[in-house]
Structure formats: structure tokens, C-alpha cells
Symmetry: C2
Subunit: 444 residues, 2 copies
């Protein structure tokens, strides 16, 4: 038992203390901590947790205890908890719900977790178009007393339950009482299809600034609503996945300290081994130039400098393009603008680095006479190679994510280290080719 739980036992435990200690507690300690809280606080804490933690807590309880906690959850959260539970427990958890909720949750479980359908809540506020504003408010007041999740937008449905329009609560409230709902509703409703992927859905929220968006099927039947508070989590989650892929690993799908050691190693070792095997081509490429290196060892000195410059410029370009694609700022049809822009950026960046490199070699030559009589040719080789390698790295880094997207892969997998490996190998070829042209007859 950690000191946090122990000392809390002596006084009465505060919900905020338990929340602070939460990430470092074991599942047993979490459950015990929750039991020490006043019941209402424990409920609030459970409701604020991610689905994975909720599932751990509920599965950690004796079967007899589980029911009231499962029934506390709104249907979309209950569906998430059931999806987090092992296969063998799912039926039992579903059976704990009351009949209408079980029906709703069952329908939600049919959707993939990261589709619009998997994020939506089936309980939304609805009205008929012919109601007066006053009738609508009275009717909603009754609906709210039941188990309605959100009433910020109210959807207007026809007799076949198809979506006719939307009215915000605020509009309903401020409308003259004798108008009908049809008079004040907006017919131009932004909707999401059931199978819309959560990344596209979060872009839709970012573009429209709505608090909720209804999910409809092909016949415009409203299946549920997705609210923006769920989207904040989605946006964080998607950004984390992209960042981890950019960092050259599989997405972890859970907080760093919650992932088991071996599962973490597995998610990292796979990519690392692939990159290592790719990087072996550098040994092959270097072997091809072994005689040149033996004749002019000075060439070897600049190998790390030159290939890392290509790698760094490539990871800049790929990171930029990956993120712009994810945010929808760039589309595939912009490829020509990206190529022309990046080719020119690469030339400018390469020239800047070449100038620094040239200065360094000339200064070192002046101070230490480090590079012998052909120092000017060496400086020229390094500078020309830097321009070539940086331009190529920038181009490869920006195009690879677009090519991957075009082929139907996730552009974030064109992670920076992947680009760096590609650029390392081709950078060596550029460097030694430039050297063999410039140094032929002198050093080589």
C-alpha cells in the first residue's frame, strides 16, 4: 500500500488526493481508494476516468457489486467499458444493464470503436416540427428529467424519424412562445455518417465549432449524437498516435507507465529492427567505396556529418507534411506545390549548411592545417554533397508521406527515422559519387 492510501485511511480520503495518486496506484489500491471515498465522490471519480480504467475497476469488484456501477455509466461509456473487457466477461457485463440500455449498448457495440458510430450517444433530445416553442420547452423539461445525455441541440424529426432540422437550446429559449419549432429550426444540419472515422470527425468538429453533431444513416435516420467533450479525447489520442509513429515506433494505445515492459519493448523493437536492417545498406554502400576510403581516410571523417544533415532535413520535411495531411491542411492534389516548394527549400537549406561546412573546413585548415594540400577540393566535395543530400532529404521527406497516403497507408508511418534511414543510404551514394568526380586525379 502506498503512503498516499495509508495516510488517507487515517483521515478521510479526499477525492482530489486519490486522483493525484491515481497513475502510480496498482489496480487493488485504486479499488481500495475508491471504497474509502464518500459514495458520491467515488461515482464522480469513476465517471471521469478513461474507459480502460473504468473496466479495470468494475472487473476488480465482486460480481454482486458490479451492477450499480455499470448502471451508473451512460450507454456510450458502458459500450466502451465492455469493449475494454476481456471477451469472456463481455456478456456478463452486458447482462447487468437494464433492458432498454442493454438494447442501446448492444447496438453501439456493433460499431468500430473509432468510428462515429462507436463514439456516439443514442440519447439525444428530439422534437416534432409542429410543436410550439412553449410546448417544446415543456416537453424537453420532461425529457431532461428522464435520462437524456445532452440537450444543447435539439433535433427535429419527421414521423419516420428522419432528420428535418436542428434548433439550439438557446434559440428555442429566446424564440417567441407562439412560434412553431419548424419556424425557428435550421434545415442546414451538419451530420456525420455512421462509419466516419474519428480523425475525420474531429476535423469536422474543429471546422464547425459545434458542441454536438448527429450521426445519421443513409436514410437520414438519427442514430445518436457525438458530443465535443468526447472529441477532445479523440484529438489527444490521435495526436499521440501520430507522435509515436513519427518517433519511429508503433502507437502504444495507453499511458507510458501503464504499458507492460515487454509489450513496450515489442512495440519499439519491431520498427527498430526494420530500420536497422535498412541501415545495413549503409555498410554495403560504404563497402563499395572501401578503396576510396583507404586512399583518402579524410573522406570518412565527414560521413556522419553529411548523412545526419540529410536525415535532419528529411525529418523536418516529413513531420511537416505528415501533420498537415492529418489536419487536412494539405491534400494529395497539392503534391506539385509541395514538391516545388520543398525542392527550393532544400536548395536554400543545403546552401546554408554548405556555407557553414565550407567555413569550418577553411578555418580548421588555417588553424591546424588539418586537411593537407588538397583542402580546397575536400571543402568543395563536402559543400556540394551537403547541397545534394539536404535537397534530396527534403524532397524524400516530403514526398514519402504523400506516397504512403496515396497507397492507402498511414502517412505517419513515414516516420522521421524511416526517412532518415532512406536518406542515410542515398546520402552516402551522393557523397562518394561527388567525391569521385571532384577528387579524381588528386586524392583518389
Amino acid at each position: 500500500m502506498t503512503p498516499a492510501v495509508q495516510s488517507a485511511r487515517e483521515r478521510s480520503l479526499l477525492a482530489s488526493e486519490l486522483e493525484d495518486a491515481w497513475p502510480v496506484l496498482s489496480p487493488e489500491e485504486r479499488l481500495e481508494g475508491l471504497r474509502l471515498l464518500p459514495h458520491a465522490d467515488a461515482e464522480d471519480l469513476l465517471l471521469s476516468l478513461p474507459a480502460r480504467d473504468q473496466a479495470d475497476i468494475i472487473l476488480g469488484m465482486a460480481p454482486g457489486e458490479r451492477r450499480s456501477w455499470m448502471r451508473l455509466l451512460p450507454p456510450d461509456d458502458a459500450a466502451d467499458v465492455i469493449q475494454e473487457a476481456p471477451d469472456t466477461e463481455r456478456e456478463a457485463l452486458l447482462a447487468l444493464l437494464d433492458d432498454p440500455t442493454r438494447h442501446e449498448v448492444g447496438a453501439l457495440l456493433a460499431y468500430a470503436e473509432d468510428d462515429a458510430g462507436g463514439l456516439m450517444n443514442p440519447r439525444y433530445a428530439r422534437l416534432r416540427p409542429e410543436m410550439s416553442v412553449d410546448e417544446a420547452i415543456t416537453y424537453l423539461r420532461r425529457q431532461a428529467r428522464e435520462r437524456l445525455e445532452t440537450i444543447y441541440y435539439v433535433y427535429v424529426l419527421d414521423a419516420e424519424q428522419r432528420l428535418l432540422g436542428v434548433v439550439s437550446f438557446r434559440e428555442l429559449f429566446s424564440a417567441p412562445p407562439e412560434k412553431t419549432v419548424r419556424d425557428i429550426m435550421s434545415k442546414d444540419v451538419v451530420t456525420a455518417p455512421e462509419e466516419m472515422d474519428q480523425e475525420a470527425l474531429s476535423r469536422l468538429f474543429a471546422e464547425t465549432d459545434f458542441l454536438a453533431i448527429p450521426v445519421v444513416d443513409a436514410e437520414r435516420h438519427v442514430k445518436g449524437i457525438v458530443t465535443v467533450d468526447d472529441i477532445v479525447d479523440v484529438v489527444q489520442e490521435e495526436a499521440t498516435e501520430d507522435i509515436q509513429k513519427i518517433g519511429g515506433m508503433e502507437a502504444l494505445d495507453a499511458p507510458y507507465l501503464d504499458v507492460g515492459f515487454w509489450s513496450m519493448v515489442r512495440k519499439r523493437a519491431g520498427w527498430l529492427a526494420i530500420l536497422f536492417v535498412g541501415e545495413m545498406l549503409t555498410a554495403t554502400a560504404m563497402g563499395y567505396f572501401e578503396h576510396e576510403i583507404a586512399r583518402a581516410v579524410v573522406l570518412a571523417l565527414f560521413v556522419p556529418l553529411i548523412i545526419s544533415s540529410g536525415g535532419n532535413s528529411g525529418s523536418q520535411a516529413s513531420t511537416l507534411v505528415v501533420r498537415s495531411l492529418a489536419l487536412g491542411e494539405l491534400k494529395l492534389r497539392d503534391w506539385w506545390r509541395v514538391i516545388s516548394r520543398e525542392a527550393f527549400s532544400g536548395l536554400v537549406l543545403g546552401t546554408i549548411l554548405a556555407t557553414i561546412g565550407l567555413t569550418r573546413i577553411l578555418v580548421w585548415q588555417g588553424l591546424f592545417g588539418a586537411y593537407g594540400e588538397h583542402y580546397m577540393l575536400i571543402a568543395l566535395t563536402v559543400s556540394v554533397s551537403l547541397i545534394g543530400v539536404v535537397t534530396w532529404g527534403t524532397l524524400a521527406g516530403s514526398m514519402l508521406p504523400m506516397i504512403l497516403r496515396r497507397l492507402g497507408f498511414d502517412p505517419a508511418s513515414a516516420s522521421a527515422p524511416f526517412v532518415a534511414t532512406l536518406v542515410d543510404v542515398s546520402g552516402l551514394l551522393i557523397y562518394f559519387s561527388v567525391a569521385s568526380v571532384i577528387l579524381r586525379g588528386t586524392l583518389l
Copy 2:
């Protein structure tokens, strides 16, 4: 004029067409497109734009036209637009607002753009504790008809305007009409201080799942509310900044295609030049081992392979830690858990790569006799170096972001390429030191 605007002129322009073409249009084309829309559609489109675009549009209009568009904006958006405008235009824009709004916007402009105070809206719904539920609903209905931004949560204030509690609209709606607001309000309100940074604020939203959080000063006076729809933008923006820093550049602060060519080059060249200068140490380190390379050229062949393995494992570790720190999953006090975990991960990952490397050298030796009589010693040098370099890369990559955070810098600046550069230089030292021990008396 692009074809999109031209063809739209012939028919009547649809708002959705203009929105699709938006990113590729020049400021003049955007303004022209907006003028071709029905007025209500143009208003909706303007309201949905980011502040930077809103400012461009409004400043692109003749001064006489600007007023009605500025007055369309809610006060928090108006403040953002004024902040985006050049210094010389700000007073003039502020003067276009009506008196009470100008007063509110002036107060908002005193806050930094990315603090809670800079994100909040000063128009929120408020009640007195002694009102009955029915009185409260009638009162809110009147407030809503005026210019209230959000009514999802209603804040209960005492006579000195200090926060007493909160009641959600839904609770108010479903409460028995004769109860007072004090009876049903919750006193345990989650609040944000005015100077809370937007990243911390977005974590607070993610943890609590509220739709709005009130911003209070030290005396618990409510200054305004921040709503979750603004937080979606903040979360995206912060993730983009972190991703760009991880990619080894300054954050762009604008979409890729909107950033001018030279300003983009500037944001990339700075870091690239710093990394290049750091990477020059590799040439110094290699120069220190020039005699060893001359005697055993085979050593040079594995230099790119070894340093890139350190760099890749380092960027995995730093990316993981940077993101976990940003999400609040890791705290600085967890440093010992991170070190011990990463040291062990690094050993395991290094051993995996060493095994692959060993196999590769033995197979190449068997097939081509590539490495001469001392191939076993070379294989051993490469394998031992890989274990050392990968373990060190993993440790450095995970610790550097925590050290930067401790020193008060942004851990995302410990970007993957920065770690890679650090690890490249130290990786060379590890490799050649291992070689001089293992190969002394044979190759060296």
C-alpha cells in the same frame, strides 16, 4: 482568379464550394468569394474561420464595410481578431464595436492569447442562489434572448459577484419548480485561474469532461468561461507545435501552405544549423580516430549503422517521454522509474540489434569472406558497441526531455534530431573505444 471562383460567378456560389477552395485562394479571391455568397452564408463562413483568416478578411474590406462584420463576432473572437491585426489597425478595429462590447474586449486584450484569460468569453449565464427553479428558468430565457454565448452551465454568484456554485441547465430543467437554485446547485466547482496556461487548461478539460469551465480571479470573481469547443482547437494547436518541435524545427503557428516561403525557411534553418554545428563534433571525433581508421578501414564501414541505431532508439525514447509529459501522464518525480525502465529497455533493444548485426557479419563472411581473418573480433566490436550505443541512446533520449523540463524549457525542444545529434557524437566515442580495446594487437 482561380477556376473555382470563376465558375462560381457564373452560377451562384455555394458556401461549401468556397470552403473547399479556401486554402488555395489568395486574400483577394477569398474576399470576392465571400461577397458572392448569400449574406447569411457569408456570415456563417466568417464565424467558422480561424482568427487569422477573419482578421485578413475584415482588414481587406473598405473601412466603411468593416463595422457590421466586427459586430458579428462574439467578444472572445473579436479580441482574437484584434490581436491578429497589425498594431496600427488595432485601435480602429476596437472603435468599431458598440460600447459595452468594446469594454469587454478591452478587458480580454489584457490577457495573453494562450492563457485561460485569453480564451474565455465574458458572457456567461448567472443566477442568484435564492431564486426558485421556475424563476431561474424565466430569468435565463430573458438572458438568452440578449447576447448570451452559452447556457449549458449556469453559475450562481453572491451579492459580491463571487462564485457560490454551478447548476447545469439539465439539472435546472429537471428540478422540481419550487426548489431554490441553492438547493440544487453543486458547490464543488472546477475553476481555472486567469493565468492558467492553455495546455494545462486542456488537460483539465480532458480530465473532467466538462463543456465549460469558469475562469476566476484570486477572490473567486468569475471573469468569464472557457468552452470546450475552443479547447479542441487548442489541443490540435498544441499537438502540432509539439510535433513540429519533435521534427526538429520551430513551431510554424500556421498551416503549411499559408506560411511564406522565407519565413518557413527561417523556422527550419535555425535548428538545422544548430544541429549541423553540433554534428561537426562527429568530424572532430572521427579525426581523433583517423589513425585507427587508416589501419582498419573496415571500422569506417559500420559507422553509419552504429550511430543511426543510437539515434533511432534515442528518438523513440525522447518522443515517448515528451508526449507523456505533455499529457501529464509522467511527472518529473517519476524520473527514477523512467531511468530504470529505459535502461533495461535499452539493454534488451541493444541486444536484439546486436544479434541481428552479428548474424549479418557472420553470414557476409561465410558468403563473401568480406571481413578477413579477424572477422570474429570485428563482429564482437560491432555487437558490443551496438548494445552500448542503443542503451546510451535510450537513456539520453528519455532523460533529456525531463532535464529540459526541470530547467524550465519546453521538453518538446529535446526533439528527436537533437537527441540523435547528441547520440551520434557519443556513439562514435563508444564505438572507437570498444574497437581499441577488442582489436588492440590484431587490427589496431
